[in-house]
């Protein structure tokens, strides 16, 4: 099939308007979801709110297995299922909603670079702290991850997930790091984000983009999640402009249902 015909077909598929019953799936909020998944899910929800697209959040224990790529969150729109922030942004762009249209090429390059920075450093650090730090893994991650299942499935699934994450850390060279170095990396990442944000309301001045949604998702989750110690949250708190950035986005986009949540 020629390139032009393919592009035409994907345009047709994307031309349906946003339905009212779009759903976002994530693991159970109270018992099961972990820090990294919660951050990704919040980032996607923020992005959809910024675009003004309504979505219902549905919590399922097996969300990870329902997802087409194995990662949460994923959205079910019409007859299509898309997972993870990157593909979701492209999917929504094909439907005609985009937050980054006003950026020129150099700014778009910067935005992509900063999104990779967040994924590379913050997300990897979150995964490391959850699964490679023995204390956190034993006290929090494994019990939570396997809470919906009965014995012996809960043990098997938890250890399988831990083994998978540790393999990945090994492949990218993070297994040689200790916890202090990981906290240091998080701090440097936050410093870079803080310097880029400066005193502006959003990363690209007046308009929020997917980068703002991603950063908010991760930082807000880090600040409001209870881990074995507060060091991660403390690292983020030391950058006041990032704190006020999170406040501002929370007030603007989430005020109708999370008004009483304090950071």
């Amino acid at each position: 099939m020629s390139l032009a015909a393919e592009a035409f077909v994907s345009q047709i598929a994307a031309a349906e308007p946003w339905p009212e019953k779009a759903t976002l799936y994530q693991p159970l909020k109270e018992d099961q979801i972990l820090l990294s998944d919660s951050a990704s899910s919040l980032a996607v929800q923020t992005f959809l709110r910024m675009c003004g697209l309504p979505v219902q959040v549905s919590c399922c224990a097996n969300a990870e297995y329902m997802s087409p790529s194995g990662k949460v969150p994923f959205i079910h729109v019409g007859n299509q299922v898309v997972s993870e922030l990157g593909p979701i942004v492209q999917f929504i762009k094909a439907k005609g909603h985009s937050l980054s249209d006003g950026l020129d090429d150099v700014q778009r390059a910067e935005m992509k670079a900063y999104m990779e920075l967040v994924n590379n450093m913050l997300l990897t650090a979150e995964l490391y702290i959850q699964w490679c730090d023995d204390y956190t893994a034993t006290e929090i991650s494994r019990p939570r991850y396997s809470s919906p299942y009965s014995w012996p499935l809960n043990h098997i699934l938890a250890y399988q997930k831990q083994w998978e994450v540790r393999r990945k850390m090994n492949a990218i060279g993070w297994s040689g790091k200790n916890l202090e170095q990981v906290y240091e990396d998080v701090s440097q990442c936050c410093q870079a984000l803080s310097q880029r944000l400066g005193t502006q309301p959003y990363f690209f001045n007046k308009q929020p983009t997917e980068l703002d949604a991603l950063v908010f998702g991760h930082l807000f989750t880090i600040l409001t999640t209870q881990l074995t110690n507060d060091e991660l949250a403390e690292k983020v708190k030391s950058y006041t402009n990032l704190l006020s950035f999170c406040h501002r986005i929370e007030q603007t986009y989430f005020k109708e249902d999370k008004g009483s949540r304090s950071v």
């Binding site: 087409p68 194995g70 007859n79 299509q80 990779e116």
Partner: protein
């Protein structure tokens, strides 16, 4: 002055001081910041399998990994990033993350996983530069490390097969190169007229891709169309490494403004089309019995 710092790295070929990306990054940064390094190549020694390259020895301490080595050099007051503003420093971190996530998997694939290139270029080179009997093990080990890194970071189920991941990583790498080209524009270096650590990282990644005589290199062809990046690489080689790098005939010294932009626009559109195509392929792969099938079947 105390004894010079010693750097262990892979040897050079194809007009480059070293064929290994990480070693090139450190060598370039050392030139930019004026640090004098005694370079020792590990070719034909047992260190090809025991050492993690590049490795910096100074007095009693040893530092590995490019980022750590650059930090160490900065502490020794060899700082090429002295004149950067805070925001430019943040941009440096972001672009380095972009290079690692998007470009490195494709580079690893081009050199170590692609059958043509591996059999005809990479393995013979590394075999001939390792001592007996290590020459049987070194290339194979590097290749399997590269493959596992690509699969673990980029292949998500159901894309567990390397051939299906290939399309995705190459299109991301081409997009990354386009972004770098946009950012570089018509300047000599990424932040004005003096090179910084970001220039070292970009040079380390793209120089082997430009210079290596790859039998099958779609990424290389794409990169050769981005004149400003080729120019950037040749400038660094000429000014800092005194290599008699033959100027490629299509990278003329006077930067031709309009054709560069037109080329870039064309390439950006091509990459966008490719990524749409790949998404369509992904959709087809993922349409399973429990999802309602797409109404228009591909012909």
């Amino acid at each position: 002055m105390a004894e010079p710092m010693e750097l262990l790295c892979w040897g050079g070929d194809w007009d480059l001081p070293s064929v290994h990306t990480d070693s090139l990054i450190v060598l370039a940064y050392a030139k930019f910041s004026g640090a004098k390094l005694a370079v020792k190549s590990i070719d034909w020694t047992w260190r090809t399998i025991t050492a993690s390259v590049p490795q910096l020895h100074y007095e009693a301490s040893t530092v590995t990994e490019p980022t750590q080595i650059l930090n160490f050099l900065r502490k020794q007051r060899f700082n090429a990033d002295y004149e950067l503003t805070a925001k430019q420093g943040a941009d440096t971190m972001a672009y380095i993350a972009l290079l690692e996530e998007k470009l490195r998997p494709a580079l690893l694939h081009t050199f170590w996983v692609d059958a043509d290139n591996y059999a005809n270029l990479t393995r013979p080179w590394f075999t001939s530069h390792s001592p007996f009997p290590l020459n049987f093990f070194v290339p194979g080990r590097q290749a399997s490390l590269a493959l596992s890194r690509i699969l673990l970071t980029k292949a998500e189920s159901p894309l567990l097969n390397i051939t299906e991941v290939e399309g995705k990583i190459y299109s991301e790498a081409k997009e990354c190169l386009n972004l770098l080209s946009h950012r570089l524009g018509n300047f000599h270096f990424f932040f004005g007229d003096t090179p910084t650590s970001l220039d070292a990282f970009v040079f380390g990644h793209i120089a082997p891709l430009i210079k290596a005589p790859l039998p099958s290199g779609q990424l290389q062809k794409h990169l050769n169309q981005l004149d400003n990046l080729c120019q950037f690489c040749n400038t660094i080689l000429k000014n800092y490494f005194n290599a008699s790098a033959e100027k490629r005939t299509d990278c003329s010294p006077t930067a031709i403004h309009d054709p560069v932009d037109a080329n870039l626009q064309k390439l950006t559109q091509l990459v966008n089309k490719e990524s749409n195509l790949i998404e369509k392929m992904d959709d087809n792969l993922r349409s399973s019995p429990q999802h309602r099938p797409n109404s228009t079947p591909p012909s």
